[in-house]
Amino acid sequence: MKFSIYRYNPDVDKKPYMQDYDVVLEDSDQMLLDALLRIKDLDDSLSLRKSCREGVCGSDSMNINGKNGLACITKLSDLEEPVVLRPMPGLPVIRDLIVDMTQFFENYNSVNPYLVNNDEPPETERLQSPEDRAKLDGLYECILCGACTTSCPSFWWNPDKFVGPAGLLQAYRFIVDSRDQALDDRLENLEAPDRLYRCHNIMNCVDVCPKKLNPSLAIARIKDLKIKEANHSKTLESKAPTKRQIAIKSLHD
């Protein structure tokens, strides 16, 4: 099977290049990662990340024939030859198919991806109704492989400003969590013009997600929630007594 793989070793190469491989596969080689390991047997200078080899850890995400995906769950029989492999776009290349995901995780961390609950911790876990638990389906499954965020042009052009689909999916995951108490802070955190609203719903993220999640829908729901929350606080403001009313009342008292 023929492969064309992006190669770049900053210690040796002046610029990246594509290297062709023609590899004989065994019957047991079913997935792209199997073929890559077969290539690595031939050329151990090829660098890539891998770990669980079953689509759970998200380490081996890469650009496969122009579309981001996980090598370990991509069937070789589904790929057109030569299989063109590149590192995920939009992030600095460390070496070959390995990218520096620092920016990706900074954006992820910026949404405070953990439960905020100031109540006294119960003896066992914080309980949820089955309905509230069901709201987390389609959100908690994200494995942070980065396939969605690095296929998003808004992230390519504004990596330090736009949170990106993975980060926003995680933001929504905690926004809808019935046990979380930081809804206002979470929505306020996404108010800066480029953090949330840079998403223009082109849905590359949905197209590439190896877990079949829908970050675009999560982003749309955050936008809806922000409108509802803003309306709610406007209503509360209008009901609150003005400074003048308070002054008049204090005079009467």
């Binding site: 042009p153 609203y197 803003a230």
Partner: protein, 115 residues
């Protein structure tokens, strides 16, 4: 209700909501325009003049152009922010866009007033 949210307190939402609201206004105008053209079938210059002259239609057309200008401004601003990294060049281009949109808006307003 939604208009009250278009404040500086919500800078991100303001631009996003403005684009949605102006898009909605333009869509409504386009549908009404299509229906009017199909029903009234103006063909001559005088027909088109009669078509465009009612005060309410001129007002609707002005609202359409104001919507179009703000919608276009937000869209082009985003594109220039993405694709023109040089701040000086970007600022010049943004100013040119603002100038062009204002010229068009004043021009269409004068045309509508003189119908």
């Amino acid at each position: 209700m939604l208009l009250s949210l278009l404040t500086k307190r919500y800078p991100g939402m303001r631009a996003w909501l403005t684009q949605r609201l102006t898009g909605l206004l333009m869509a409504i105008y386009s549908v009404v325009l299509l229906i009017r053209v199909l029903v009234l079938t103006p063909s001559s210059y005088d027909d088109w003049l009669a078509f465009s002259r009612p005060w309410w239609w001129r007002l609707a057309t002005l609202i359409f152009w104001v919507s179009l200008s703000s919608h276009a401004w937000l869209g082009v601003r985003d594109v220039l922010k993405d694709y023109v990294p040089n701040v000086k060049i970007r600022m010049v281009l943004l100013k040119l866009v603002v100038l062009a949109l204002w010229v068009y808006l004043v021009w269409i307003t004068l045309l509508l007033c003189n119908l």
